[in-house]
């Protein structure tokens, strides 16, 4: 067995093992008649290390032996292999967000009134952390509840230039109609938008809420 072979066997074993390997374990890879002395194994490990110099991996000696690690400078890229998407947002969160968008500025209590169930603090926190909603004031009633509104980030995320780019409730209802397609992917700067709602405030008569 020549030096290159020895180095290659050591490399293969270190990369195939799911644990660090000490010199004893490396020696145990060989039949007795071809077992390399420890000094030769050390030389092979040294060569291996030198060969890794300009590569993505490196040889490290840890308490229980040698192992091959990803070089620290590449850890950030490699970590992206485990990017995880958390589970999808709950129905409750989407409804809350939608009500804030259409009814802003609005308090949590008012959202709860429409939804018929309470809105958890966790949902409000998630929406605020995502920078989709923020507090724009406090209603001057006992308890001074916070008033929530949507943000620029909210508009950006959903590809809207303005809040009024959101379809009316009547338009949304047509979503169920397979013959109607709604232009939802509103590209920024789209010129073919309908006239602003202020011109035809009646167009929104279907958007209803709790306060008279």
């Amino acid at each position: 067995m020549n030096e290159t072979q020895l180095r290659n066997i050591v490399e293969a074993a270190l990369l195939a093992a799911d644990r660090p390997l000490g010199l004893d374990q490396l020696q145990a890879l060989f039949e007795e008649h071809e077992r390399p002395p420890r000094a030769l194994l050390r030389t092979a490990l040294g060569e291996l290390e030198a060969g890794f110099a300009d590569r993505g991996i490196e040889l490290r000696e840890v308490a229980s032996g040698y192992r091959i690690e990803v070089r620290k400078q590449f850890a950030e890229f490699v970590s992206r292999l485990w990017q995880e998407r958390p589970p999808r947002y709950s129905r409750a969160l989407l409804e809350t967000l939608a009500l804030i968008a259409y009814r802003q500025p609005v308090t949590r209590g008012e959202i709860e009134e429409v939804r018929g169930v309470s809105v958890s603090t966790q949902i409000m926190r998630t929406l605020e952390e995502r920078n989709w909603v923020r507090i724009v004031g406090y209603r001057d009633v006992p308890g001074r509840p916070a008033l929530y509104a949507t943000t620029h980030e909210f508009l950006d995320y959903f590809g809207l230039r303005r809040l009024e780019d959101l379809p009316t409730l009547a338009e949304i209802r047509d979503l169920d109609d397979p013959n109607v397609t709604l232009d939802l992917g509103v590209p920024a700067g789209a010129e073919t938008r309908a006239p602003v709602d202020a011109e035809e405030p009646d167009g929104h008569e279907e958007i209803r809420a709790l306060h008279e």
């Binding site: 850890a75 967000l97 802003q104 500025p105 209603r139 809040l163 939802l184 602003v196 709602d197 202020a198």
Partner: protein
């Protein structure tokens, strides 16, 4: 238990076994008490448990038939049906004697063989020779079909595979950073959620209140947010941008009216004909003096 010579004197190894090729991919014919049995012992006597293992290793009637054909070097296209049937039935009987669990398929095959045998005995009309199918045709087709997949299974077993032949190389990633991406939401999902919640509200709470267009709602948020940031008085005209045009001014005006109606802002005028100021409602901590200062 004495066993018939015919079964004991096996001329070759069972099908699928390659003598002299102890490759990793080799499938043992059977394992008896830890020992790999790749062919039948040639003694005159087989211990019943070994015979049992031998017989149990068959994968069904087709496998038994293929074995009988192979070990006698019979051309699969010219099977001596009477002889093969005799041998097959003897195996079945033996299995029964050993009280092996005999799948119904074995008996069905015995019946099929008997039927072919009887059809072979019928004289074949010379004129119809071309159209008349050989009574063995269906059996031969099935045997070949099974054989090709039996061979395919052996080929598959010989492929280099993970765990046995192929070892993956892996390096340790010491400080692995978990990057959490945030969930995606489509605009459509958001709109459908809105539709559902409004329809539910209408149905159960009978909430029917017409509201302002979204442009006004957005401006309401903006004005509130601005007043929140200054926490002080803002001159009324400053709420209207010079560049927003007539339509924009209308929207802003509607927003201010709605904010007043909802008691979210207050309009303050220090004296007649003085500039009108706007502030968040309920901010009594602002003394009127401050308004004067802001005014001056």
């Amino acid at each position: 238990m004495p066993v018939e010579l015919e079964i004991v004197r096996v001329s070759g190894p069972p099908a699928g076994v390659r003598p002299g090729q102890p490759a990793q991919g080799e499938m043992p014919f059977a394992v008896v008490e830890g020992e790999v049995l790749t062919e039948l012992p040639r003694d005159l006597y087989i211990p019943p448990h070994a015979l049992r293992v031998f017989l149990e290793a068959f994968e069904g009637p087709l496998d038994v038939l293929l074995y009988l054909i192979k070990r006698q070097n019979i051309d699969i296209l010219d099977i001596p049906i009477a002889e093969i049937t005799r041998q097959y039935v003897r195996y079945i009987d033996l299995m029964r004697e050993l009280q092996l669990e005999l799948a119904g398929e074995y008996l069905l095959m015995a019946a099929m063989l008997a039927e072919i045998k009887s059809r072979m005995l019928l004289p074949r009309p010379e004129t119809a020779e071309a159209d008349e199918e050989d009574p063995r045709a269906e059996l031969v087709r099935r045997l070949q079909e099974y054989e090709r997949y039996k061979k395919a299974a052996e080929d598959l077993d010989r492929l280099d595979r993970l765990e046995r032949d192929v070892h993956l190389a892996a390096a340790e990633l010491v400080d692995r950073k978990i990057v959490n991406l945030l969930p995606d939401v489509s605009l459509e999902a958001l709109l459908l959620a809105f539709k559902d919640v409004v329809e539910r509200a209408e149905m159960f709470a009978h909430l029917h209140v017409q509201r302002e267009p979204l442009s006004v709602r957005q401006r309401m948020s903006e004005i509130l947010s601005r007043l929140q940031a200054t926490r002080s008085f803002v001159e009324f005209p400053r709420l209207f941008g010079r560049d927003e045009g007539r339509m924009g001014v209308t929207v802003s005006f509607l927003a201010v009216l709605e904010l007043i109606k909802e008691s979210l802002i207050e309009i303050v005028q220090a004296e007649s004909f003085a500039p009108i100021h706007v502030r968040l409602a309920g901010q009594d901590e602002f003394p009127a003096a401050e308004l004067k200062r802001a005014h001056e």
